[in-house]
Amino acid sequence: MNAILLIVVPLVGAVLAALWPTNRTRPWFLPVFGFVHAALCFGLLVHPPTVPPDAWLGFDPLARAVLPAVSLLFLVCAVYAIAYLRVRDERPNRVFVASLLSVLGLLSAGHQARHLGLLWIATEAVTLAAVPLLHFNNTPRAFEATWKYLLVGGTGIALSLLGSLCLGYASLHGGGKGDLTFVALTAQGAGLSRPWVLAAWVLLLVGYGTKMGLAPMHTWKPDAYGEAPGIVGAILAGGVTTVAFTALLRVRSVVNSAGEGAIANRTFLAIGLFSMLVAALFLLGTRDYKRMLAYSSVEHMGILSIAASFGGIGVWAALFHVWSNSLTKGTLFMSAGNIRRAAGSPSMDSVCGMAAVVPRSAALFVAGTFAITACPPFGPFFSELKILLAAFKTGHGTAAVFFLAGLLFAFFGLTRVVFAIVDGRPHPAARAGGKRFRETAGLIAPPLLLLILSLWLGLFTPAVLQDAWSAAVLQLFPPL
């Protein structure tokens, strides 16, 4: 019941927000419905429900391991959105608020989908619901980003449908009766037709990989993250990408049961390392600090994909990394959004000395950068350490070396841009912009809270979360 409420509550909120008459008070819908969603979600995390095996939708262990992170990130972004939309009160926010709440509801559906077709419908709907968020700024650059997002994302989503159909045909060819729940597909196991399973895996990896932003299907990401408001970037990077990742994990467990797990692991590892390489190279070249965050997101999706290739312990570490990456990225996107507002430009060529103009945001941005590049004692350090340990335990020493090299180059790339904009003497124009832009508590407290949560997650990983991740691993790799 509560599982359905997680989907329905935000969608009802979206309808109400769309009907609400005044621009000024409408943003309050976001934290109110975000809070109800988070309360429900964390209630379910602590008291997990039993999901009937043939259910199409349900708060199963995998949803329990990931969805609370998305819900938490959304709630904090929603609080930030009040202050942000007050700064941007010249723009109508009806469509923006309604779309944001729809995205939350549909993400909940995607995370809880236990049926191949339903999962696809939810992912497609999230893709479409995010479109108005991307062109909130209404500039030609935002249109360009939206067009590319829609074309690349739409093609990816089409390919994942083709992959889903191939997997359905694999089941049919193996004597299945057309039951496309993941439980039924896994139960069919070796009975699935191998060539069709492999075709499905390739198409689904490319399709959902596009949504996740794995290289070389990542091309929409820098444009979208660069032009969308900070919170939209945070929710795309921390919520939408994770739904694609869990989709791939669910499909992978089917491929595993069909006896092709080794191939799935190899492709995961290859595409993950390639994503890290591409991200590191672009991080060393980019001059725009919001696009930089997109490449950092590509890098972290690569890390998740690498971790997922190391079997059960790798997936455990990957789920940990989903949490630490989502929370830390939230800090970065919001503080970058503040800096962007104050500086008036996204490029490091024309922005410098922001530590003097917006000291709190700049401090958060620097701290967040160290957190995301896996400096201890923040969350990403511990999750990436677990991934490294998983690599050595499963005998992937060479991959671990490439992984570390990728992290190192990403560190160089990120710090290069970040210190260029934070240090130095600010331009007079930026000083004036900084005077107009006030760092209110509403714009500083949310990213700070996420940073503290990232720290807490690393130092005192709660037992309930560790349980949830272990249960999810057990669901994906059932003991024989």
């Binding site: 497609e124 067009w147 074309l151 159909l165 045909y169």
Partner: protein, 214 residues
């Protein structure tokens, strides 16, 4: 039945090549529209005489959506934007036709490597689906106007639809309805975006979308 079906799939594959060879937008849209209607009739031929209302609904929705509604929206966008009717391909017409022909041959070869259920042996559904997906990709990559890219996307979706026909009896209604709904909404949104791009750039040339790069 399978002979008639194969005839229609062959027609759809021919329309793929026609789409690759057309150098004017209205012709391209008309080709896509005819292909959509052809696809819409297919579910009726697939069932062995006992017509399920679900299958009938899918057929009607496909003819209306792929054959009439979406091409209508595209024509409206084309008129509203008042753009040139020439296509200005990025990959020329002859190279794209050659690529399309090669893709069709590759699709037939690939399809023969995949195992099929006894009732699907001898049907052109899989090669037709793969050929349309490849054609869609060639149009997406090789055309510069937003509307011709949308047409490419539609042909890609048509290929996926052809593949879906293999599963039409086994998959529950929800999946099929969702597929159609999402498709329509997807193109609808694409249409709005096209409209917006036109207002921002006064042309539908995606080559002008170059502000965002490294």
């Amino acid at each position: 039945m399978i002979a008639t079906l194969n005839l229609l799939i062959g027609l759809a594959m021919g329309l793929n090549l026609l789409a690759l060879g057309s150098n004017r937008l209205p012709a391209l849209i008309r080709t896509v529209s005819i292909q959509g209607m052809t696809l819409g009739v297919m579910p009726l031929l697939l069932e062995n005489h006992n017509l399920d209302w679900r299958i009938l609904m899918i057929a009607v929705a496909t003819v209306a959506g792929k054959g009439l509604l979406i091409p209508g929206l595209l024509r409206r966008a084309m008129r509203a934007a008042n753009i040139e009717r020439e296509i200005n391909p990025f990959i020329g017409l002859v190279p794209s036709l050659l690529l399309g022909a090669l893709g069709t041959i590759a699709a037939v070869a690939l399809a023969s490597a995949l195992p099929l259920l006894p009732e699907h042996v001898g049907s052109l559904l899989v090669p037709g689906a793969l050929a349309s997906v490849l054609t869609g990709f060639i149009l997406l990559i090789g055309r510069t106007k937003a509307i011709s890219q949308v047409c490419g996307y539609l042909i890609l979706e048509n290929g996926i639809y052809l593949f879906g026909l293999l599963l039409i009896k086994a998959t529950p209604l929800l999946v099929e309805a969702g597929v159609l709904l999402d498709l329509t909404v997807g193109v609808f949104v694409l249409g709005i975006i096209v409209d917006r791009i036109q207002r921002a750039f006064d042309s539908l040339d995606t080559r002008k979308l170059t502000a965002l790069h490294e």
